[in-house]
């Protein structure tokens, strides 16, 4: 009896093991087979995975893709991800990712690093029409992995009613740090604070850029604890200490835009997505967007870049390539801009965009002096850790924080 039981267990285990091996064996050849026959068949259906900002964006992307589908004869489906990074990872590990998807410049290196992304940008006919800084933001180890689709910059958003109430005029728009501090002081009243920002590097970092610093130096090496960065962060700390700037979390707001929209702050530093929030949730607040002040080393801001990533495992790379060039052409991008307010990634549209959105020209003008987060794998963890330390900025020496960021940055391959 003992023997039978053991034998049966062994048999069951063997059966299970062979089943698994069969399943795995079935998986890998099919995925390799797919990539070799990729360019051959341009009529395989495409799937597109997007992380959307709302219904307007979903509808605009869907109708653009449907138009291309009709024109090319290739079926294409747009899926909206509830958690883009997670769904992408599932697709890559399962061997059936979406053919095209949104990527951001801080996650492109993670996917490029493990071979999930196709470096297709060189094959695009319109590759020279993009802003060079955007293409650079998606370049990892010399290869451009994603065609830029749009970008955003951070600028200064001012509540015009509070501005007037504080006795300030058009000429008072700050252009230097000293002026900025002075207007923030004037705008601080018992009812509201002068400036509110989200407690994260991707807001306070503008001061580091204006002081001439950044996470990396010109050679692309980690340089978080440079004197310029210390200076930038020390300026932010001074604003906090003087009580003219507060974190949105201190005001009970989820982000700077909420603190601004609920009129707890007269100014905030946000990107062009704020126009959507203002139009939807805070219609009664009058505001305008101006450029951030220049620091000791001139103007500087942070830029976020969105692009189209293509899966290396895609079964129809030819079709996907065609779809990307269709979606990134100027009139499509202008359509997206009108539908959900993004800034187009092609240079030729700059003037047309400024005419269409005169209130937001500052955002586009910021592109000239803006910096992107370095595209190396693991950067988002370092930024997250930086953010968690910035909470303690009011009571911590900026150099201590930046030293720790430098240690973390140096641990990343490609920055040390």
């Amino acid at each position: 009896m003992q023997l039978t039981r053991r034998a049966s267990i062994a048999a069951a285990a063997a059966l299970a093991a062979s089943l698994t091996l069969a399943a795995c064996g079935g998986g890998s050849p099919s995925s390799t087979g797919a990539s070799s026959s990729a360019a051959a068949d341009n009529h395989q259906p495409l799937t597109i995975l997007i992380g959307t900002s709302g219904e307007a964006e979903t509808a605009a992307v869907k109708s653009a893709v449907a138009a291309w589908s009709k024109q090319s004869g290739t079926p294409a489906t747009v899926n909206v991800a509830s958690d883009l990074n997670q769904q992408l990872s599932q697709g890559f590990s399962g061997g059936s990712p979406a053919d095209l998807f949104y990527v951001t410049n801080d996650s492109v290196a993670t996917y490029a690093g493990n071979g999930s992304l196709e470096p297709y940008v060189d094959q695009l006919k319109n590759k020279d029409s993009f802003y060079p800084s955007l293409v650079k933001a998606f370049t990892v180890n010399g290869k451009a992995y994603a065609a830029p689709k749009d970008f955003s910059t951070l600028e200064l958003v001012i509540n015009t009613d509070m501005w007037k109430a504080a006795g300030l005029g058009d000429a008072d728009v700050p252009t230097t740090w000293d002026q900025f501090e002075a207007v923030a002081k004037k705008l601080t009243t018992p009812q509201h604070v002068g400036l509110a920002v989200s407690p994260q590097f991707e807001r306070l970092g503008v001061f580091m850029a204006q002081a001439g610093g950044w996470l990396t130096d010109d050679a692309g090496k980690a340089a978080a604890n440079s004197d310029a960065n210390v200076k930038g962060l020390a300026y932010a700390k001074k604003l906090l200490a003087d009580g003219v700037m507060k974190y949105s979390s201190q005001l009970g707001a989820g982000w700077g835009g909420e603190a601004f929209g609920t009129q707890k702050a007269a100014m905030t530093i946000e990107g062009n997505w704020i126009s959507g929030a203002m139009g939807k949730d805070y219609k009664s607040v009058n505001y305008k967007v101006v450029k951030l002040p220049a620091g000791p080393k001139g103007e500087g801001t942070i830029q976020y870049d969105g692009g189209w990533g293509m899966a290396a495992q895609s079964k129809n790379k030819g079709g996907a390539l065609d779809l990307v060039s269709y979606l990134t052409q100027p009139d499509q991008q202008m359509g997206f801009a009108k539908a959900f307010g993004v800034m187009p990634s092609v240079q030729s549209l700059a003037d047309q965009w400024k005419t269409a959105f005169p209130a937001q020209t500052a955002f586009l003008e910021g592109a000239a002096s803006s910096k992107s987060i370095p595209s190396v794998a693991g950067i988002s963890d370092v930024i997250k850790d930086f953010d968690s330390q910035l909470d303690a900025l009011p009571t911590t020496d900026p150099k201590t924080i930046l030293d720790k960021v430098q240690t973390n940055l140096s641990g990343l391959a490609g920055l040390s």
């Binding site: 039978t4 089943l19 890998s28 990872s89 890559f92 963890d381």
Partner: protein, 368 residues
């Protein structure tokens, strides 16, 4: 040996010799047939994934294609070393998550055990009116989805939520307290002028970081866990309480024990196996907290609600560091096993512990 009973009636005929082993054999086949669905399901969905994860935790798999293809290399303990031995961000994050979850376990397990026992004793009273109504009410949070409860708590604790309204009405200091990233022990020490000293530590955190306590946001998760799980454990305790025969209670009353003595020296020792079950289930559940964090905070504010289970998920799915994510899961598994064993030793029935209840009430009677 057992089949001899079966054999006997048919012993006179020629068949039994063939049939004897036949019955046994058929029994065996039937047994395997009946257990096969469970064995296959457990094997496919439990044992195999565990073995695969064990392989991933010592491999260089980066999330592209199958983890069993040729390009995936064996890297030994590298993934574990990054978490336990090598100073860096991965280690600090892991240390932070252990610190957060450690405090969570330390607070939730004893409190929820005590609360559930208290509730069970309450609803076990024969004199209590509307007993089943109370039982249902206490058990209700347990049958509600943890995601739904988390969302409700998000509303309650939002800047314009009920809790903040009450805090402000009582003259509290506004809404910043919930976003405070310092631990409550640290805040208390800060009130006495003690500030974070720098110095050596463990897993990338200074000793002060380890004792600084849970952040206010983590405390909310503690309250939520106690609120949601006490009902389940109350049910387990209630079942155990109803197993205790009434004569024992009557006997102790005859012996002159008062209510507290009856509870302390009779009921509680008799509930010892149940307490072990409740605390073990509590330990496992609390070390694995994930859904509330995923829905409620994603580890924020400033990583103070980061837990190993959530870190394992984010390392795997967001950073594509699958090996490290799997390694975290296995370390977590080891922690849970160690805690359970320690607790087993602590709660083990000792020979002397059994005598104590009888002696004390008896002694009391002699005095009175």
């Amino acid at each position: 040996m057992t089949t001899s009973v079966l054999k006997r009636p048919s012993a006179a005929e020629a068949r039994p010799r063939r049939r004897g082993p036949g019955v046994r054999g058929r029994d065996g086949i039937a047994g395997w047939l009946f257990t096969a669905p469970v064995l296959i399901i457990l094997g496919l969905f439990l044992v195999l994934p565990i073995l695969m994860a064990a392989w991933v935790s010592v491999s260089s798999w980066n999330g592209l294609g199958s983890p069993f293809q040729d390009t995936v290399k064996f890297v030994g303990g590298d993934n574990y070393a990054a978490l336990l031995a090598k100073p860096g961000l991965a280690q600090t994050d892991f240390g932070t998550s252990l610190r957060n979850n450690g405090w969570y376990v330390l607070l939730v397990v004893p409190i929820q055990t005590a609360v559930s026992l208290f509730l069970a004793i309450l609803v076990n009273q024969r004199v209590l009116a509307a007993r089943s109504a109370f039982r249902t009410a206490f058990y209700f949070p347990s049958v509600t989805s943890s995601v739904a409860i988390t969302v409700i708590f998000l509303f309650l604790f939002s800047a314009s939520g009920t809790v903040n309204a009450i805090v402000q009405w009582l003259g509290g200091s506004g809404v910043g307290w919930f976003a405070d990233t310092r631990g409550v022990v640290q805040q208390a020490l800060g009130a006495f002028g003690v500030h974070a000293p720098s110095g050596s530590g463990f897993l990338g955190l200074t000793w002060f970081d380890w004792i600084s306590g849970p952040s206010p946001a983590m405390l909310v998760f503690v309250v939520m866990a106690i609120f949601t799980t006490s009902g389940t454990f109350m049910l387990i305790y209630l079942a155990a309480l109803q197993q205790i025969a009434r004569d024992i209670e009557e006997a102790t009353i005859m012996d002159g024990a008062n209510a507290w003595q009856r509870f302390r020296y009779v009921t509680l020792p008799m509930l010892r196996p149940t307490t072990f079950t409740v605390m073990t289930l509590g330990l496992i559940g609390t070390w694995q907290i994930f859904d509330q964090i995923y829905v409620g905070s994603k580890g924020g504010p400033a990583k103070t609600t980061l837990t190993p289970a959530f870190l394992s998920y984010s390392q795997s799915f967001i950073n594509n560091a699958w090996g490290r994510g799997a390694a975290i899961a296995f370390i977590l598994f080891a922690i849970i096993v160690v805690f359970t064993l320690v607790q087993r030793v602590l709660l083990a029935e000792r020979g002397s512990a059994r005598k104590a209840p009888r002696r004390r009430p008896g002694g009391r009677r002699a005095h009175g």
